[in-house]
Amino acid sequence: MTYDIVLAGVGGQGVLSLSGIIAAAALEEGLFVKQSEVHGMAQRGGAVTAHLRLADAPIESDLVPVGRAAMILSLEPLESLRYLEMLAPDGAVVTAAAPLANVKDYPPIEELLTAIRTLPRAILVDAAGLAQAAGLAQATNMVMAGAAAPLLPIRVGTIERSVRARFGRKGAEVVERNLAAFRAGQEVARCTAKQ
């Protein structure tokens, strides 16, 4: 089993911490993990990507090959379309809906969201709204971890433990709000998948 994820977002959105949560859970389940990251200049408000590879056997390449990603997990809608060539024909795009329009020729948001909805397997998540409802506006990446969770080859409970471990230091309330955000994302994915 190999499960390749291409994570996408804009520098500063927390792509690496989202990847880290999933990677930690995969390791806890005894999977092999490689996580290729972007550091340096690109992190300054530019397009950022991480390649996360999970497998039950040793992993060779740090990079996901073209056409092999089971999932594109994006924190920003435009970024969810940037790496589509990486996606396997039956792969899923899971993306937050709120645009971060810091470039001049950013497409009109309705056009963009419609384009995403036309993809064969797309889960569009109002991550910002759900994070707000969970009482922690900055927890959008936890909503997205939740939205990705039902599709991953990892038990959801293991990912929850990974979320707990990450925020445990910050107190019970922060942990609970992050978990609430995580579960809200999970719910969206579950309902979208049924359609």
């Binding site: 390791l27 290729s36 550091h39 940037r82 990486m86 996606l87 064969p120």
Partner: protein
Amino acid sequence: MSARVLLGDEAVALGALHAGITSAYAYPGTPSTEILEYILQRGGADAYGGDAPVAAWTANEKTAFEQALGVSMAGRRALVAMKHVGLNVAADPFVNSALLAISGGLVLAVADDPGMHSSQNEQDSRLLADFARVICLEPRNQQEAYEMTREAFELSERFGTPVMVRLVTRLAHSRAVVRAGEPEAQRPIAHPEDSRDWILLPANARRRWRTLLERQPAFHAFTGTTPHNELQIAPGPLGVITAGIARNYLRENVADLAEAPSHLHVGAYPIPAALVRRLVERLETVLILEDGYPYVERAVRGLIPPRVAVIGRESGHLPPDGELTPDTVREALGLPLRCSGPIAPINVPDRPPQLCAGCPHTDSFHALERALAGLPRGIVTSDIGCYTLAALPPLSAIDSCVCMGASIGMAKGASDAGVRPAVAVIGDSTFLHSGVTPLMDAVAADTDMTVIILDNEVVGMTGAQPTLLPSSRLPALLLGLGVNPDHCVVLDAHPRRTTENAARVRREIEHRGLSVVVAARVCVEAARSRKRMHKETVGTS
């Protein structure tokens, strides 16, 4: 044995800590920065007996290398880390160090950036190891990054030369599980047996150079037998030589080939010539897969009979530039590309990096733009750092970016050539790295030019490392260099002061001689993380 998840950079750092280094030195530079950061954070926890090594950011890569050399001269182990272009700065001590009788293990970890993710070129450090005539180890994964770094210290001591460990961005910045061994203790001080081996007067240098040349067969004997260079002969007509992480891309695809190729993996240089010759004995074609320059490819052409076709980056079978990917390697192996998902239903515009919201550099560039308004077209040279992003719209404020410190020398040259105004824009850390010496030239000639030092108190681009000299001491340094006190100005780079700053910069541009303007305000990212750390400290006390 303990298992942990580490970046390639961090695996190098842990390897060095477990090898019992006494010191580690580096100048921050993507993709190498995390090597020293790890040692700074984990030195005490991971070193033998909690005996943390000295770990320090340095003024530049040359001073880093020279400090490591001093540690080695004292018989103790030292690591020096830098990015590929940093090795140009450190090339003088590096190349000369190969002639010394290295006693304490001296390891240079250098991270190349094929694809130029965060660099101005994609030069290949393996050629510099060759140039210096020393051994280079090239790990293919995080585990090897750990093991090879440890081994590099032993090799350095066994052969009495420095050893290079070469990484590329993809390994430096990728995480995987690393199984670590037991740490070793630091070495005691041991003075050189013969000080002439460290004094490169021509008479000594000639003797030491012969010693280095006489060692080359021993280097070849090592690379011909080390398990890092692994030969597997298969019956078919195709052979592949991989170097470093290229092996992973081969293995990612090899199962799809009709028959497995013969394979030589190179993880240790000098290139194992005998293994190359054995590989090609019955081959028709050998494909070379390597990240960086066609270094192995060129060498192999000179080692084997012309009946064997050597294909790779130089022959056009792989792209001559950029980093390898599992896909470019797949194509070079003659395999069809895998089917991929849908094509983007709309046009996806590029999203280049940009200066952060509230960045003080933006305000400095606005002030400069206004100061230059209405003047004839001059030149604004710039330098390496976040502020290079001012090259992009909407600022489009600079005319050059070449190498650390170049802005000042280039502005002087432009001024000497008759261009006015001639302005150099350089960050505080870049100024300390390589801007002080060209400023001496400008002071000596009182060149008609204006230097603007963007002082944000940190090394911004690489993650807000501290600069060596606190901002408050910059003016004293400038005056000490002989900058005219009437034209040495410190401005507050705040948006509410843009108008007055612009007026002051204009006056300095109009001054017919050298002016230095320090535009000071702390990096917004650094300010934010300082606040966060303060909050956490207060919260826990």
